[in-house]
Amino acid sequence: MNIPVTGGAINPTTTAAQITHSGGLTLTSGSMVVKLQSFLVDTTGSAPIITGLVGANGKLVGHITLVDLTQPRDFKLPVCEDAGTVTIPNIDVKLNTGAAEPLNSAFGVSAFTGELEVGSGYLLTINLPEPR
């Protein structure tokens, strides 16, 4: 799943970043449609996360932390820059506890839990030329 980057900034020395995205993900079951969108990769806090807007059947649930990100064990700073592109591979993506509750509520289940492994990710950004 490719999520287009629309803007943001990253510090390659510390990987502190806020990166905005367009597009999103829809989860559908019967007549219930949950939309997850306006993803923001945020690594400026105590732990890296992705937040986003959550809506259920057209009603805004809120802007919540969707997943927790964990850097790979062999991750080293500063991140490598190749031709202006920063790549951080093999990021572990797990459902945040705060996102599990609205999903369970929307679908009438209890299967969504914090720490549920969602996938692995690559954070890719491309830099503008340095300011002069």
Binding site: M1, N2, I3, P4, V5, T6, G7, G8, A9, I10, N11, P12, T13, I19, H21, S22, G23, G24, L25, T26, L27, T28, S29, G30, K35, Q37, F39, V41, T85, V93, F107, V109, A111, L116, E117, V118, G119, S120, G121, Y122, L123, L124, T125, I126, N127, L128, E130, P131, R132
Partner: protein
């Protein structure tokens, strides 16, 4: 004496402003703006299987 005080009073803000302006490019080098590319998430098959079990179908929202 008053002349010197006046000169220092004038020069100090100019000097401080110059120092602040000089430090801006050095700070800017460390935070680089981003333009279009992708964040890619490969959803685990176990997660997709769990969604199937719950009869939840995922689909992508196209960028607007």
């Amino acid at each position: 004496m008053n002349r010197w005080v006046k000169k220092v009073a004038f020069a100090a803000p100019v000097l401080v402003s110059s120092m602040i302006l000089a430090s801006v490019p050095a700070m800017a080098r460390y935070t680089q703006s981003t333009i279009a590319l992708n964040t890619t998430v490969q959803l685990y098959s176990t997660f997709l299987s769990a969604l199937t079990t719950l009869k939840v179908t995922p689909s992508k929202i196209s960028p607007t």
